[in-house]
């Protein structure tokens, strides 16, 4: 029982840690009037993870505005170094509250709780994870990724990246 409880806590903590989508993203219905680029997680072939606002994408590199020790910094990633990309274009919906609520409902179901507790946990955890990741894409092509940058047209000519905030 203790082990199960620990597993459950680990799962819930894991879910909470998934919810690192930044606040600057719009809610889903405002995606058409949001001026910034989407939030992007890029994993490189050397297994480094770079996260931040997608600034632009061109034939050779992806430019990300990321935070390093609380300082904004522009990072260029060579396209050949990219292992995979995950992009969030809107804030997810937090369904985390359903996990304790439905678990409590199970507790009051006597014999049935032995079935409903795991069922409720699996369902609510799945929905919470899905809600967090709902407005995201994975395994996009460069063409698709470019459309979600702050500058989908590419960087303006002679643009000084150090001015980006």
């Amino acid at each position: 029982m203790k082990n199960r409880l620990i597993t459950l806590i680990v799962v819930i903590v894991s879910i909470s840690s998934c919810a690192t989508i930044p606040n600057y993203l719009p809610i889903a219905k405002n995606i058409g009037s949001h001026p910034f680029g989407s939030f992007t997680n890029i994993k490189t072939v050397s297994n480094d993870l770079v996260s931040g606002e997608l600034i632009s994408v061109d034939s050779s590199e992806i430019i990300i505005l990321t935070k390093v020790y609380n300082q904004l910094k522009v990072v260029k990633i060579n396209i050949k170094e990219v292992k995979n990309v995950k992009l969030f274009y809107a804030k997810g919906t937090n369904y985390g509250w359903t996990i304790p609520l439905f678990s409590l409902m199970s507790i009051t179901q006597g014999f049935f709780s032995i079935l409903t507790l795991p069922f409720n946990l699996i369902t609510t955890i799945a929905v919470t994870v899905n809600g967090n990741q709902m407005y995201s894409y994975q395994n996009m092509t460069v063409k698709q990724l470019k459309m979600f940058a702050r500058f989908p047209q590419g960087l303006p000519s002679n643009f000084d990246l150090t001015l980006i905030k």
């Binding site: 029982m1 082990n3 889903a28 219905k29 995606i31 058409g32 009037s33 001026p35 910034f36 072939v45 034939s59 396209i79 050949k80 990219v82 292992k83 995979n84 919906t93 369904y95 439905f102 409902m105 199970s106 009051t108 179901q109 006597g110 014999f111 049935f112 032995i114 079935l115 409903t116 795991p118 069922f119 409720n120 369902t123 609510t124 799945a126 929905v127 899905n130 809600g131 709902m134 894409y137 996009m140 092509t141 460069v142 063409k143 698709q144 470019k146 459309m147 979600f148 702050r150 500058f151 989908p152 047209q153 590419g154 960087l155 303006p156 000519s157 643009f159 001015l163 980006i164 905030k165």
Partner: protein
Amino acid sequence: MKSNLFILALGILFFQSCSSFYFRANYKQANDLIYSTSRLQTKPFLKAHMQNGDVFILNKNWNIDSTQTFISGYGTQYDFNRKKIEEGSFYIIISNVALFETNNELINPEALNVGILSTVAVINVAINLFCIAQPKACYGSCPTFYLNENDNFHYADAEGFSNAIVPSMEYSDIDALKIVKPIGNEFNITMKNEALETHYVNDVKLYAFPVNENEFVFHTPENKFYLCQNIYNLTKAIGSEGDITALLTNPDINERFSLSDNKNLNSKEELFFNFNNVSDINNLGFILNFRQTLMTTYLFYNSMGYMGNEFGDLFLKLEKDSTLKKKFDATTQLLGGIDLYTFNEKTKNWDLENTYNETGPIAINKQLIALKQKNYTSTVKIKLVLNKGFWRIDFAGLTNIDKEVSPTILGPTSLLKNGKPNVETFTTINNDNKYIISKPGNEFKFGFKLPSVDTKYALFLYSKGYYMEWMRKDWLKDKNLPKLRQMVYKPNRFLKREAKNYKKYESQMESIFWNSKIDTKSFSLYEK
């Protein structure tokens, strides 16, 4: 490889003037934009990404002039850092625009999640309402025993004194455990109280029988123990639904059961078993792994509900009045046990051998009946007569009885209460006049020392005591003394009239509770 695909996709990008991905579309030419948005009743917001990095976000009333020179509309201009520059009406020269972007509105993006949660909520609310309306269906058991303390009651190894609902009905119960070869000579078993009951446990002992390879010990309904050899599996088993051989060939908790009769709970059914090619037809014993359905729980809790606020007085009467005590479970007496018949090849009749009867829906009983009849060919034909919807059968087999044996009886050598040593409880369990009192949520781990190391033992659990069911507030409203009298004095009539109510309960409880697969856990007669 992924990088190459990435570069290839990048190449394709530069040969296309417009592109779209799900809700988002980009246009390099105003003409493409006009074409793709002209048929829309409501235009989407338009983003005009400028060559200098600024962006204009225009509301849904934007327009392109007929000469395609400029775009007009109300909106907001942002600089390259997306700092708001101005809000108002704009005329944007198209030649300064690097790219147009439109986004379709997402329609019901949360529909799937909301749908799933709504469905789950409806199921949960239905079960909660059912438990409020029928609390008796959702709670209750008697002391449950586990070899693995982390198991839940689906895998209870034994269930103690289920019939002892008042002190004077105290009795001892023996349940078969497994054949084990423990590491060292330590053996532990955990007793749990998983219901709203108080358990009064007078004694817990272990009956141990050393066995060799291919030897088994089974106990009979009369608590005799037999050393046996050979297990003959079923050749054919037929029930009212057809062939049930596959369900009864292995002790795998994949059980055969039927539903109750909708007109009369007291309705019998027959199961027919054939064992072909029994190599030794001498001293045969029939092994049956079985337990009750939840019909017993239903009847018992109903009787408590009918007592209402007179529950205490009536239980006191039950305790003192031996005639009433005999009649109290008249309904379950009428439903009966599992009658075992063998086919007599000489007389061509079915001979009644004996009856299996053990109360409790949780732990599976494994019992043997020594067959008296000797007139078999190499095919042994067996018939079971049992009440519909009252029994669940997991395994049926034949064995050869070698001899009657007596156990080595072991008392506990250690005892943990809720994970901690408890001297007082340990002293109590070893005193015949004292009782361990176990309340809901309590766990007692009994430790035993087997006589020798490196020996296989067939083990049986002996438990003695009684339990007091807790009256629930919700049950008080069910008070119905005439119905209680009918239950006790006219059980036949009661079982007929209650059939419909039970069907409602059975269809929900039996199908959801027992048929649901959790993680299937199979076990064998031997556990090393």
